[in-house]
């Protein structure tokens, strides 16, 4: 058998609201709801898609800009590498300007035996003088 209703609980029922109170609540709900409803009204599919696409496009353009930047930097860095290779020649030339570079290092062709001997003799005579190497 089910437990009978507890009459005293009627005490906890909500008080009756006046017409003005009910209208007030209704108006407040509708005022708060109107911007949401307007948003729902004015949002056709293409607008929603456009709204979604906007951040996507922004992200894609950032990625594109970064890619272009990376490529451009890659291109400008390439000559630096070549310049790096030239730098060895520059060092050799600079060394040559400071003093005689053995013919064996500057000649492209295989050294000529006479020239090598002449260079070695010249070098040893300068060393014995002690003037050039100091």
């Amino acid at each position: 058998m089910s437990e009978p209703k507890i009459r005293e609980l009627e005490e906890l029922r909500a008080p009756r609201r006046s017409g003005a109170q009910r209208r007030g609540t209704r108006d407040r709900i509708l005022t708060r709801a109107e911007p949401l409803l307007a948003q729902m009204r004015g949002a056709p599919v293409w607008k929603v898609l456009a709204a979604w696409a906007r951040p996507g496009l922004a992200a894609a353009s950032i990625v594109l800009a970064l890619l272009i930047g990376a490529l451009w930097r890659g291109e400008t860095r390439a000559p630096e590498t070549v310049a790096g290779l030239y730098r060895m020649d520059d060092m050799l030339l600079a060394a040559h300007e400071q003093g005689p570079v053995p013919a064996i290092l500057v000649e492209i062709d295989e050294p000529d035996a006479e020239a090598t001997v002449a260079a070695a003799l010249a070098s040893s005579s300068q060393t014995t003088d002690g003037s050039e190497n100091r």
Partner: protein
């Protein structure tokens, strides 16, 4: 009292209204507000026991329902879904108030001309509210919906997503516990 709103709203009528609301139809939303706000206030008051808190909860409930209207399955009724949302919000709100140690219910209905009678009525109300709110939430919810707001068991079952038999057994248990608690209170009366 039986829930007028549930009885007057036919399924197809509700589904059509919800569909219109989804498209931003203000008039359709107004109809739903007019249909459900009174009983929603009753439910909110049953949990919170305070007129202004209940008003605020009803307002928030309708706005939340509007925000989440797309989660309502197409073709289903608005009422049960909305009351479930409201009950959850009411329980959360009360937990929040309890955490802030403001859970003592003001006695709105104690505005009687006789101060002594008013005090006694207020005491009884407070004791009843305390007894009701000390029940497990699922039992309390069934009491609020069935005994305070007059929903039928099939309606309570639909709102809370439980079998009808569970709603009946919850109410049976809840009433038994409440009666025991009130007996204790009567013993303490002068």
């Amino acid at each position: 009292m039986s829930s007028q709103s549930e009885k007057t709203a036919s399924g197809s009528d509700e589904a059509a209204l919800v569909d219109r609301v989804r498209r931003g139809d203000t008039q359709a939303f107004e109809i739903l507000v007019d249909r459900y706000s009174d009983q929603a206030f009753g439910v909110a008051y049953g949990f919170l026991g305070h007129v202004q808190d209940a008003e605020d909860l009803v307002q928030d409930g309708f706005i939340r329902a509007l925000e989440q209207i797309d989660s309502l399955q197409p073709g289903s009724g608005f009422g049960a879904w909305f009351y479930r949302l409201l009950v959850n919000a009411a329980i959360n709100r009360r937990r929040y108030l309890a955490r802030r140690e403001m859970s003592d219910l003001p006695a709105d209905a104690a505005a009687a001309s006789d101060p002594a009678a008013a005090a006694e009525q207020s005491d009884l109300r407070r004791e009843l509210a305390r007894a009701l709110h000390s029940l497990p939430e699922e039992l309390e919810t069934v009491v609020v919906l069935h005994d305070l707001e007059g929903f039928t068991h099939p309606e309570v079952a639909r709102i809370l997503g439980m079998p009808e038999g569970t709603s009946r057994s919850h109410l049976h248990r809840a009433r038994r516990v409440l009666r025991e608690k009130l007996k204790e209170y009567e013993h303490h009366l002068p």
